[in-house]
Symmetry: C2
Subunit: 358 residues, 2 copies
């Protein structure tokens, strides 16, 4: 009799506990939904509709090294889809091995951002795509005309532009090159288990990940890292509580010991309020897109979380808090879309194609 | 009555012509089979059996930029499978933008060659794969140990090596890295319409291509470009009839006006008979693997055919001969194997992974 009673008591207790867990989960979900939204499968655009023809062409151009002066560097060189749309380097290597000033952000889910580049100087991926091709320390093409000359010398490309932009009289132009690349990028979305959670499946996250999510919100991370991309939708000063370089300089490698302070958006606007202001980066796939921050100074995700808490929130997190937050962040990892990983075979150059210059 | 007779006469004439064509085709096929063999689907190896586990791992390593000092350059940088296993540059760009001394040959069908590199200094793809990783002007890793340190710091790789080399006690070693890459390369075969022809389907080539094949044999190209890869199976002096640089220097770009003469195999053996001797390159996919020759001096296939006839055979080909030969050469184009074009997602580095050095 005693035994049976004990079993009943245990079951009831278990059910109660499970019930309590469910209530807690529901509360957490409700709270999370205030900050975050599930990732759409495509980042739509009013002005650049995503069509299969444009995506096909855009993928080829994304992998196309002839968009660079040297004929060696493509979008995929720095935004390598085999490594989650980044090069995993502090800052990128460009034409004639020039080093870029800022860490290359991932192209995955980038189209959801409010603006492009760390300082937001391009309004969308369409505008962004036009930058690196002409940047003398990146792909270093001389002019949009030079780019168009290369592409239009290749009949297969001309045909693909005709199909992708059927209403244009002269579809091979610099705008459309950027539009096609951007259309491809608008398909680079990486839904994760966290999206399943946000859609109502509270079992999609482990206990530790849910504790991490709770901590992430409570500590204050979600005040900047929110929305569909957990970031990418606002600008803020890097170093609200204390100068960021005080916290990151311990991590800076010997390779660049004297790198000057980066003034962020100030360099674009020259407004005092924009001094050291950067776009808040997305945290999706953050475990794969090391090293961290605009200067790529910190390689380790645990360290990056600590630095963030310190300079943005003025908090020293416990090891346990960091562990939980990192567990949650890893639940944001998705998969690189299959179609993006199918390397396109690029059409051959012709006699008319201008030669690469190394 | 007249009309009917005329129709009958025409039919008989047509049949006779078709019959004559068949006889000619059969003769050409017989002649071609003396020189060429169809391409096997895999380049087998006694000492490095091609297994699915090894090929999977090898493909990842082929696309792995962490095999280079900078963390930027992979095998695929210079042997880009999106462009038929080459970079379409005169010579390749390596660590810190150093330019290589010779044109990067394609990895497609390379495993069928009698030896690797233009001077044959590696006996097979297994030995070849160990070269560029440590070459200071290519991927520039310090030592085999440094390479193994990087790879063995990544648990996913350790697991993949365990599976690919189940009988090895410590499978993550430099030999096995090369063996895995080579096993992948042994699957990079590109059967073409010419192989269908060699197997007996004389309709697989057009009339012009068959005339090109005939010319190719008659002119003497097939005396060096033969076997399964139409090349790759012997060494010969570049410039038998006259010095190659007399014929190619008109094509040399402003970029490298003072490039010294390349002594070829002589640099390896120091034997006089090896002066200006190079491996005969394969002509499979030759229309895609421009620019041509060890120095990448000639961009146009028609020009390359002319130069070859001149300096190797002492012949001046007619425009028509060149046109036909080029038509035949294009019938050697195959397709890059699908599995090779599926970009692998690479496992992340860990705290133990040594950092890249740019």
């Amino acid at each position: 009799m005693k035994k049976v009673a004990a079993v009943i008591a245990l079951s009831v207790g278990g059910a109660l506990l499970a019930g309590a867990g469910k209530v807690e989960d529901a509360k957490l979900l409700e709270e999370a939904r205030k900050y975050f939204q599930p990732l759409p499968s495509v980042a739509k655009s009013e002005t650049n509709p995503v069509t299969p023809e444009k995506v096909k062409l855009g993928k080829m151009l994304y992998y196309e090294p002839r968009l660079s002066r040297s004929g060696l560097i493509s979008c995929n060189t720095c935004h390598n889809l085999a490594t989650y749309g980044v090069d995993n380097l502090p800052t990128s290597v460009g034409h004639r091995w020039q080093l870029g000033p800022r860490n290359a952000p991932t192209t995955l889910n980038a189209a959801f951002h409010v603006a492009q580049f760390w300082d937001g100087r391009a309004k969308d991926v369409e505008e962004q795509a036009k930058g690196p091709i002409l940047n003398p320390i990146e792909m270093a093409m001389d002019s949009p005309e030079e780019v168009v000359k290369r592409i239009s010398s290749i009949p297969e490309y001309v045909e693909l532009f005709n199909r992708a932009f059927p209403n244009d009289r002269n579809p091979v132009n610099y705008e459309n090159i950027a539009k096609a690349i951007a259309a491809f990028e608008r398909t680079l979305t990486t839904p994760s288990r966290f999206d399943d959670f946000l859609r109502g499946n509270t079992e999609a996250l482990t206990k530790e990940e849910k504790e991490g999510l709770k901590t992430f919100i409570e500590v204050g991370c979600a005040s900047c890292h929110n929305g569909v991309a957990l970031g990418g939708n606002m600008f803020t000063r890097f170093g609200i509580v204390e100068a960021y370089w005080n916290a990151t300089r311990d991590y800076v490698t010997l390779e660049k010991p004297t790198m000057p302070m980066d003034v962020g958006k100030f360099a674009v606007t020259h407004k005092e309020e924009d001094l050291y202001v950067f776009k808040v980066p997305s945290l999706r796939n953050i475990s794969r897109t090391y090293p961290y921050f605009h200067d790529g100074s910190v390689w380790n995700l645990e360290d990056a979380v600590q630095v963030m808490a310190k300079v943005q929130l003025g908090k020293e997190l416990s090891k346990d808090q960091v562990k939980k937050i990192v567990a949650f962040l890893k639940a944001l990892d998705g998969e690189v879309p299959k179609h993006a990983l199918e390397l396109p075979v690029l059409p051959p150059s012709t006699k008319e194609t201008p030669k690469p210059v190394r």
